[in-house]
């Protein structure tokens, strides 16, 4: 399959089940909501070492938030409910509670729930105040600035993590242009691209020659190892490879974003130095979600 001169590999991305929640962070203005969200989703690129994967889903207008202020929707993904709860509590406690003017709410309903204000309320040292409005409980935690308002629990839904595709380009510049175009096109409801700027330059393979390392450089896609790696997957004209990793609230959301990203990456075409699109998988052994690139397009 050729798209705008770019070869689409007959391969598939392999993704795995995760648990996810959506938090709505509001503040006096969008700037402060973004500051809190960026802080909270920092160092959350991969569960390999960060404990969770998180990112900003989108900005929210005042009419879309519970307290009628501007906000930001954040998605957080983890491998299981317990680690998701621990990560959310730590990150909200350190990055949202501490951030001027913010409030924090659950942005999704789910059969499962994790504590949000349920644990953080204890920061109030007995001065915290519970308010139950309808079927939702909120906590008002007195802080030096005034009051921090936080919902008691957040909904959790089954999710899909590790969707991906790789852009094979003639040069690092071409790869970066295509990756940036892809990330811009992929942003939408229900997905995040958790790596810096949405892009991964250091895709990994499982395991290493060194004991204790569970992942190491994906030598098959390293252009400087084209002649040295035991099984290089790169043709002679490939000078740089970038990967985009996608976490989504559903298989359909990941599929939509993947397709949009590949199409956008291919708009530069072979004339723009984009040579191929492929995807990472482990032969179907890692996860139940398989995104066949050609079928998506």
């Amino acid at each position: 399959m050729i798209l705008n001169g770019v070869a689409i590999d007959d391969s598939f991305a392999e993704a795995f089940p995760m648990r996810a929640t959506r938090l709505v962070i509001t503040a006096a203005d969008t700037r402060w909501a973004r500051i809190a969200a960026l802080s909270m989703t920092g160092f959350a690129t991969s569960v390999i070492a960060c404990g969770c994967e998180a990112g900003i889903e989108r900005e929210l207008g005042p009419s879309e938030t519970p307290d009628g202020r501007p906000g930001v929707a954040v998605l957080v993904f983890a491998m299981d409910l317990e680690s998701l709860a621990a990560q959310v509590q730590a990150r909200v406690g350190q990055c949202v509670l501490t951030c001027p003017t913010t409030a924090c709410f659950s942005g999704i309903d789910g059969e499962e729930r994790i504590g949000l204000g349920k644990g953080l309320r204890f920061f109030g040292d007995g001065f915290q105040f519970s308010k139950k409005l309808g079927d939702r409980r909120y906590w008002r935690v007195p802080v030096m600035e005034g009051e921090f308002v936080i919902q008691d629990v957040a909904g959790v839904v089954p999710a899909v993590g590790g969707g991906n595709f790789l852009i094979l380009a003639a040069s690092p510049g071409a790869a970066l242009d295509a990756a940036e175009a892809a990330v811009a096109a992929m942003a939408g409801p229900g997905v995040i691209m958790p790596f810096p700027g949405g892009v991964v330059r250091s895709g990994s393979k499982i395991g290493s020659k060194y004991k204790g390392l569970i992942a190491s450089t994906n030598d098959a896609f390293c252009p400087t190892l084209r002649g040295q790696a035991p099984a290089s997957a790169l043709a002679d004209d490939v000078g740089s490879v970038l990967e985009i990793v996608i976490d989504g609230l559903s298989e359909a959301a990941v599929a939509r974003a993947t397709a949009a990203g590949i199409r956008a990456a291919c708009t530069l075409g072979s004339g723009g130095g984009i040579l191929g699109i492929t995807a990472g998988n482990y032969g179907g052994k890692l996860g139940p979600y398989h995104f066949h690139l050609r079928e998506l397009l």
């Binding site: 009628g68 409030a103 007995g126 001065f127 105040f129 409005l133 909120y138 009051e147 308002v149």
Partner: protein
Amino acid sequence: MGGLTLTLRERVRLPVDMAPVLPELLAGLSAQEIGKLELQCGNRRVPLGELFEVAAGDPQRLVIRDTCPALERIGAGMKGGAIAVEGDAGALPGLGMKGGSIEVAGAAGAFAGSEMSGGVIRVAGDAAGFVGAAQAGGRFGMTGGAVLVGGDLGDRAGDRMRRGLVLGGSAGLHAGSRMIGGTILVRGTCSTLPGVGMKRGTLILGGTAAAPATFADNGVHELGWLALLERHLAGLGLRGMFPSRRVRRLTGDLAAGGKGEILVAA
């Protein structure tokens, strides 16, 4: 199909216990069978048909017409459906109610919504004392739901209330007395000594009131959670009810070791 309609034949003087007249209890009964149901009236039991004219209809939308204050415990223990009271309701409407809605076109007697845990009671007129309160000897007043009063609240509104919402135009003596949780919103002001014995919970007053000396004045603040309350009220169809987001925060009742709050619009 319209709602099942009960029209009071003539005003009664002795109290009538309306608790058996619930949407869930009338479901599947014919108008004739409903007419044979016995209601406690004073010290005797009287067939419902002697007191009311019954017009068949959907029992989930029960209408009680030409009512008078002798009709007590309307909607007591109800779990779902709707009761429209076209007139005044006697004491204890919605006692122990768990769900559904009661709409009273006139005034409501004492203890409206007492010990209710869910559902909504709307009263167009005034509600007498002890709205959402505990029964004598009861541990808690209402633990959920809402009592929305278009007129004024009587004395001791929300006494021992634990959760839920009470709304009224003004309030009598001791609003929020011995309150344990929940929210009372008084659009105007209240009579003396609001919040006596308050443990937790929030009493919001639209107008100034003399709080007991056992409340600490924490100054004037703009509280973000009031935006949540305003939106919650809007969800109940109540707009423009909110006095102010800028409030003086008084906490107490310190005489009872309480951490409740009276928020007075500033």
